[in-house]
Amino acid sequence: MTRYSIVSLARNALSHHEHWPRLWRSPEPKPAYDAVIIGAGGHGLATAYYLAKNHGVTSVAVLEKGWLGGGNTGRNTTIVRSNYLWDESAAIYEHSLKLWEGLSQELNYNVMLSQRGVLNLAHNLHDVREGKRRVYANQLNGVDAEWLTPDQVKAFCPILNTAPDARHPVLGSTLQRRAGVARHDAVAWGYARAADARGVDLIQNCEVTGFDIKSGRVEGVVTTRGTIKTSKIGCVVAGHSSVLAGLAGFRLPIQSHPLQAMVSEPIKPVLDCVVMSAAVHVYVSQSDKGELVLGAGIDGYNSYAQRGSFHVIEAQMGALKELFPIFSRLKMMRSWGGIVDVCPDASPIIGKTPIEGLYVNCGWGTGGFKAIPGSGFAFAHTIAKNEPHALNAPFSLDRFVSGALVDEHGAAAVAH
């Protein structure tokens, strides 16, 4: 792997940047691997990287039906934060945020983490109580969190409409200063490059169509490019998790819904933090190119079509305009959808399945981008040791039988 540095930049400038090496190889699948990861999104790639780096498992293939990073990882609004309510969530999301903070150095790839602060607005008395409760819970868990009064919110984000007679009055806000945004593609590409350098085979255009299961144990995967033998499979396919579980013969408590996002035309810097409002399903930040990046709430029906209904975006834009009157004449350039894997308690499932050797990492729904490093770290441990790490033990599949849910619905103030 070429190390990126000021020296390599200068050297490549001499050849007009035409000879940079490819970020990763494109190998043919081998007949067998020690472990196979299905899905080359951020979570799958991070898992492969930590399998190789932390556990010395380098005979690993990552199988991707489309192109690397083309799923939700490449479609999300990139908010990174760790201010979740419950202890279990705070632990894994905060571990993830700490990994984010060193990730560009670790991967020698600029993931453009920008810790510009995230506001979660409160519009009514209930929001205020929930927000304060979350701030206090975060502080007890060592997660940085502050409560801002309406005046402090106005000072932090002057273009917000905080007038008392506003349609969505701002009665206060939580603030996590270490939270912010990162570059979606860079995370996928950075982990991919670093995993490839440690010997992981990244195989694109390779769809998993079945499992080879004998007496309750996996022995391989069937793919559009042949059968691959392996005794350990990590399934990390977000919106397609139920489909893959179906191929293996079990059901998940997951529903696949469209989640839409959009960007505006580029404008001069006007918003230097991230603003989220759970009540009206608005979350917005401004990219380095100047575009506003906006996300909506999920569409109510199940879908695999990677698109949603227009009225969902319309409602979101209406609320955005009320919160930011300055954006009223801004044009939107593009909108798109991803298929998110929604869990009943808005928490992920990371761990074993009824099939020996088959592990799942899914259920991140609308909010798994931020968790990519922490989830990969914990899932690699689970696969390598055949038992969960303390960070993901509470997020097992059998919590839906035991009833020990980690209910972050509402508690986490929209799970993006």
Binding site: R251, S303, S309, H311, P344, V401
Partner: protein, 94 residues
């Protein structure tokens, strides 16, 4: 945006409705008697098909009645609308 034919009011815009998720999930007759596994099936586990789904819709801003729809989750095409209590039209009696 979906155009949904309410069996009572006729075709209406999606914004008048609310999707109620998978249809035909029967509550166990004796909740106290079922195992935790069976209870998890009832409460949490879902089919979530990539293809034809049978789901419930509620005409929130219309007649305020529930009904069932067969819809393809790959294309959003609505294949059939039928009343609550009627069996799933694309499957034989079970």
């Amino acid at each position: 945006m979906l155009l949904i034919a309410c069996p009572y009011c006729g075709p209406r815009d999606e914004i008048e409705f609310r999707c109620g998720g998978e249809a035909h999930i029967a509550r166990p007759k004796e909740p106290d008697a079922v195992t935790d596994e069976a209870w998890a099936d009832y409460l949490f586990r879902r089919d979530n098909p990539k293809g034809v789904i049978a789901e419930r819709w509620f005409h929130t801003y219309g007649c305020r009645r529930w009904f069932n729809v067969l819809r393809d989750t790959r294309t959003h095409a609505i294949l059939k609308v039928y009343r609550m209590g009627a069996p799933r039209p694309d499957r034989g009696p079970s």
